[in-house]
Symmetry: C2
């Protein structure tokens, strides 16, 4: 059987997240339905990251096995013609049989987008979190960089979804401003559930605190979700890319 890797852009606004589940529209289900229609065979896909309801992706990756002899280009065209307009296949590639979108991934990069000005935006309403108080981007960026390395992120893990190993290695973490938009970008080997939104929510809570960076590390060391700030809302988050 051939092993096909697809790269996916989606607007998560109208979906209950990536992962297939009964009685809810999900991205995975929509793509599997389209593949099943195209190949005329029930087809399952494996995703690199499970994005939550309302979270977007610029470069989610998935793979599936198929007997179909369609070319990569033909697969891309057929999928984009079949999928709803808020899910788009931006790349299709045949990969070796052992490629696994989830387990072969070396890192994932998430971006959280904040609209940081006194009034909201009509066009960005579903893709950036409107936060009107001025963000200290330089302070946040310093705090971001202090997170690089291997750490226990229990304090930033959604309650009820505890992983056996709550350790992640952050490869890169930064905060930057482009005009009215402030981005938090985090690249890591793995993420706990709700981790990016909990980190961003905590940054925003500590934004006007003088010793924010110390408080951040106190929260981290507490290894307790209740020590951290509320989660930032899902619509600011996007899975930017997955490296293999």
């Amino acid at each position: 059987m051939r092993n096909i890797k697809i790269t996916i852009e989606y607007d998560g606004t109208n979906y209950h997240g990536w992962q297939i589940q009964p009685n809810a529209i999900t991205i995975q289900a929509a793509i599997q339905d389209a593949l099943t229609k195209i190949t005329k065979t029930q087809t399952q896909i494996i995703g690199a990251g499970r994005t939550d309801a309302g979270v977007h992706a610029a470069g989610q990756v998935a793979n599936f096995h198929t007997h179909s002899q369609m070319s990569s280009t033909a697969f891309q065209k057929a999928l984009n013609a079949t999928l709803p307009r808020d899910i788009v296949i931006i790349d299709v590639e045949e990969v070796p049989p052992d490629f696994h979108a989830r387990f072969s991934a070396v890192s994932r990069t998430y971006r959280y987008t904040i609209l940081n000005r006194t009034y909201p935006s009509a066009l960005l309403r579903n893709n950036a979190y409107f936060f009107p108080e001025p963000i200290d981007v330089q302070g946040a960026d310093t705090a971001c960089r202090s997170l690089v390395g291997v750490r226990d992120f229990s304090s930033f893990q959604r309650s009820g979804s505890e992983r056996i190993n709550p350790t992640c290695e952050i490869y890169e973490c930064r905060c930057l401003r482009e005009e009215d938009l402030v981005y938090f970008e985090i690249e890591a080997d793995a993420f706990l559930r709700g981790m990016v939104r909990a980190i961003v929510g905590t940054f925003l809570k500590l934004n006007d605190k003088e010793d924010g960076i110390n408080q951040l590390h106190k929260i981290l060391n507490a290894q307790d979700r209740s020590a951290a700030g509320a989660s930032a809302p899902p619509h600011g988050l996007s899975l930017l890319r997955v490296k293999y």
Copy 2:
């Protein structure tokens, strides 16, 4: 009475255009309703340009007269708290009594956005027209610049909406590419109904023609709508700004 100028950003996807009409949701109606709620007085607004159904605005301008003593900042906050999230007031300013959003305008600038690559975009699906064949941007830009000046644009006027004077002065017209996006930007003293979409549709029709620029001027000189190409769809169009 005070005269208040507002600058508006909107996502036109879910509206039947700017202008108020019976039995249809319009931008003008939504803003008037919000103002009437806030000022507790029936309030009418005058818009600078009548955008069609599905057309967006980054900087539409309108004005209204009111006895309210609210500050500009308070008006902006109250309006943004009352309006649906796809309409945002980005600026409020008190202006002299004779300011008229439509008649005082010196120029309007429209931008038409095309996604020019082989696959569509989930995030831009309602804000850029997906056109997969490669666009000759340099050729289009030369043709654009040849439109500058005073001309009869009857050939690019929607049938059934003929204006007594079909003459417009184009101040600037250009075509440019930024990665996968191609923009047509047109600044003029006035626009006939459907004019930008008819011009862009004609450019796309002439895209692969060798003597495109000559054909464009033949169409222009015909002063007949049926000589031009089909209109480009509304969702690529945005009223960028209005100058006074």
